[in-house]
Symmetry: D3
Subunit: 139 residues, 6 copies
């Protein structure tokens, strides 16, 4: 079994807050990430696809093809944007790394043609990272 | 001559725009960095001090002392903040990397006690970086 | 299933040697890592927790909460220390990366409240890394 | 269960092309990687072995021993070489990251004495990576 | 004085050899970099421009503008190419990092409109780097 | 003018303390770096040489030749060692990054045959770095 991974980076602003809670309540949940006027990150995004190698081409999926899929459906929507205000598919969610990963999975999984989506990994900084392995993995 | 450098990172939102210009005019100057609701970065900040080594301690300046100076006067003001809205000393400036570096120099230069401030380096991503060498360097 | 990972670094000295063996015997097992007066590393430590996302907060576990747990129970005990001499919970062990990972697991596993400890990863340098997946994983 | 990983890097030229296809056909499959006179990379290679810890030495496998195995059987054959022309065990294959990983597995798996080969990971750049988990993993 | 730096990466093959010398003679000069069928690298290229900040825009030169200049005049010519065979402006030179830096300077210096070209830095790997400061710097 | 830089890494233990001072006095100067049983780091060392390019070879100095000089005269003496106890040329010094840089300069400067030693840069971690520009640079 092979895993093929592509990595991209995007720069975005976000604010972590549950709608309807006060600034104090949100600060109790999210700490400094609840700053009312927001903050931002260079996000690293890794998309992993699993599959078998085509014996002629020696590839599971072409890096460029996979990269292009991520660019069109994810990167162009979130790069140099405010994740709370500018991104249609994120508007009803708190833009945590977990929720970004879950939403990116929903968007990319049905669009992968060679191989199967294996994981979505997002880091907000070198200090933390979230990997989503999909809805079918048992806890 | 020795250069002693400390490095910290901070996460912030910003928007590049000249007050009084339209969105279109700002987009013409700053491209996607002019997105009206902002975007963000993990900024890397390096502060370099030059000087001679104390023959007893073997140091120009203690790393912790220099790091603490940067934390109190810079990091606590900009980390997890919106650079356009939340930072008093940036309010009249477009928050470009150049202007951040210039302002951080003004704040730190008079506070360095061991050695002399040599440079302020800021990168918004691994793709770009600005170094300010101070007002006394001839062009 | 989600994995949430936090990463910290610590600087420590260690010496690899089995008590009761000669310097020559330890050198035969550990090579230059058996240097009698020790050597040291900047260790990278990653702690991964698996779980489901809380639908209100959008998090498995707060990064700060997990980071604080690692700081109090691990980092404050090993950072800027000699792993052979200064750390109570390591004293009967050869301080290999494997043994550090196993011991950190014992300390952290019962203290994780949101989610379940998934893995402990330690690297002594960019050239090597150990991941411990816990005692329940079949070989 | 423990995973022990060693990482090395090698610099090599390669060209992606299926023998017997025209330049245009190969370009359609591999894009700019089909450039007829080749291009090159600094490849990162990670070899992971899984096993249990020896209670006396505190190791699954010595890092130096594993590193030496990779150096002799892989690195000395591919570093500063042209992967299409200079490497006997690659000559009948398109030198994609997938095929390199598969071939390195065949060479290393029978030579691991402490523990079991777990995965071979190869990246051609920071933007992409392939992990091979061996022939026994079900898709 | 400000330095503004942009960084790009390119993947290329090269062979170090003086035309007219034997393989043995070239090996004596360049070691394994003289391998007759070539090898390759992911090259990191940093272009630094010095200048003063425009008081309205807060920039010396726009990152995108500088990046575009590097892309059109350098990157599109060398990325995924063989530096010995495919690049017109390198054909009479041994493609060492020094010679690449010197040639890139010649191409870029007259095209910088905001500020002045300050340095060209090229690394073939994380282990080595060359910086060219231009023809006017005294030794 | 060209700068040619080689980079190596070494793993060592050290303790910062002025001989004759108490643990408390040393702690007041060096903080946690004065831990009596020591700590350690993966040190990054960069050696930069300046010079002109040989028009035949296209090099200032061969990377391998410079790397070998650093390996024989520095790396073999400090890697996997205790800097306070095991290194003859460091014994009378507090092993700060400044003092390491100064001592490495004394050792390497007279041994550089192609070009002139330009700087010695040492970092103990990604958070700090010292560059020594030699005794001739005016403050």
């Amino acid at each position: 079994l092979y895993l093929v991974k592509v990595r991209v980076t995007f720069s975005a602003a976000h604010r972590l807050c549950v709608a309807g809670l006060s600034n104090e309540e949100n600060h109790a949940i999210y700490g400094r990430c609840a700053n009312p006027s927001g903050h931002g990150h260079n996000y690293d995004l890794e998309v992993a696809v699993r599959g078998q190698v085509d014996p002629v081409t020696g590839m599971v999926v072409n890096f460029y093809e996979l990269n292009e899929l991520v660019r069109v459906h994810i990167l162009d929507k979130v790069d140099h944007k405010n994740l709370n205000d500018d991104v249609d598919f994120l508007k009803v969610l708190v833009p945590t790394a977990e929720n970004l990963a879950g939403k990116f999975w929903e968007i990319l999984a049905p669009r992968i043609r060679n191989g199967t989506l294996h994981s979505i990994t997002i880091s907000e900084s070198s200090d933390n990272e979230v990997t989503y392995l999909g809805p079918d993995q048992a806890p």
